[in-house]
Symmetry: C2
Subunit: 335 residues, 2 copies
Amino acid sequence: MRILVLGAAGMVGRKLVERLAREGRLGSDPISQVSLVDVGAPEPPRDAPFAVDSTGGDLAEPGVAEALVAARPDVVFHLAAVVSGEAEADLEKGYRVNLDATRLLLDAIRERGEGYCPRVVSTSSIAVFGPPFPDVIDDEQLTTPATSYGTQKAMTELLLSDYSRRGFLDAIAIRLPTIVVRPGKPNLAASSFFSSIIREPLNGQEALLPVPTDVRHWFASPRSAVGFLLHAATLDSVRLGDRRCLTMPGVSATVADEIEALRRVGGEEAVRRIRHEPDETIMRIVSGWPRAFDARRARDLGFRADADFDEIVRFYVEDDLDVEHGPAPRQASSP
Amino acid sequence: MRILVLGAAGMVGRKLVERLAREGRLGSDPISQVSLVDVGAPEPPRDAPFAVDSTGGDLAEPGVAEALVAARPDVVFHLAAVVSGEAEADLEKGYRVNLDATRLLLDAIRERGEGYCPRVVSTSSIAVFGPPFPDVIDDEQLTTPATSYGTQKAMTELLLSDYSRRGFLDAIAIRLPTIVVRPGKPNLAASSFFSSIIREPLNGQEALLPVPTDVRHWFASPRSAVGFLLHAATLDSVRLGDRRCLTMPGVSATVADEIEALRRVGGEEAVRRIRHEPDETIMRIVSGWPRAFDARRARDLGFRADADFDEIVRFYVEDDLDVEHGPAPRQASSP
């Protein structure tokens, strides 16, 4: 089995490739070849039991998509995207990367012909939904994106469904929750603090909390996100019908829930490292985000979320904390 | 006021331009200039009280959109489209015309800049919805198109909403019901018979009915369609918020309702000209079409549909029948 991973240098992409290298197979099929692509050539995983090639390139440039699908990969993970903030700041770049590059990829697959019909697993986003939201958003919610990023993702979902219906490819677009706890440093995303308030305290550092603790949002761990991708790559797509986009299950939690989970893992000392510093801009942005989903279609298809926010924190500790800063402060020194 | 009409040679486009020429104004604003565009240069209306220019061209060709918006029209009616059957038969043409050409138009408007923000009225379609349908589809129905045409229209709706939200233009996409009674000859569209079974009998000709009389669908007259376009061009778009697509009101009627309306206008003689000739293919296609909508948002915004199917038939008689074949057989010669 040959696998192509677009956006392989991103956080989720790296974790996906590490897991593929660890397992050596996708479902029941041994992997023979994995091709990694990103803007810069991604670093190959260590000790992979399959051949790995790595390419730097821009999928939106003419000919790049054709070259990538020439080897007829059986599964394409399409994770490459310009994120929400950048797509809002740079309209043309957002449409070029999030919509046009995807379409070039899909057309390159379509034009291979000769019965070629790979599974395409594409990451979409809950940003396809816009306010006003019900308390719990179900699978029948209308897509009314409030950002250009959400618009590009919703347009791509439509395209993936149409191309699948016509038999050019066999796509599944998965709408990921906000991924926490992200390893590494805080970034400029408005959602960055959801990870920071867990990650920084567990690393002995101070974190800023810009919103009230009753803010509720929708989360999944990086480990679950990789699980979603692998399940999407292997499930029987006949069960999806012509609607090829799925809201992934997740954990609906408040910032207070996050803090309590942190307390259970890192103790009072860790919690004291969170400094409340209200930020009107971030509060306004986050108030327009969904709070919870009933992801029934995905659950019925076997997608599994984290059990609760404690598990999300534990996965961070197991998968990333030791790597980042040595052993975790599992037991706090004071109550 | 300057107006640009794209797709001006189509049936709805011609009727729109005739009405503009008759009224000389749009809302309260006198019209100074109307620019007509289609694949072939459209015939200008007779006796228009404003300047008219007419251009043949392909909006998907580089530079065409820029040239068309260079005069900074205040209102753009974008009616140009590849229809459903053709978009299904020729995938590339469908995406090129229905999606790419529209995007080139919107980008040409965006790139004019300097505060230019025209009203763009774009015809969308109930084909953005796909089965399974509820008996009555409301404004919260998810768009799950079952055709490439519906996909292209749904993608365009998203783009129009995003560009409007960002202030590049001021768009309204109106989802037209199936338009009946179309003047002229039957065409290859699966929906053609809905017009034929009224039009042909009133013109003394036989019409084929390929489906059972209990088939229900959603209709508007050409006169109402033009009314929708004019209302969309003049309403206060602030009332739309960021959701720039609207399902238009219409008449939900069965084929039996159509036949009774025909009987009231054309008598038994006309009804006898309908020959039942079941066509499995058309029956299958039509069974996947919606039957009725609750178009509350549009009604609340002042869009008005035909009162019933009798009115739809009467509008055909008043607007088109005499033009096509001389005076109508208003009273049948036998009961």
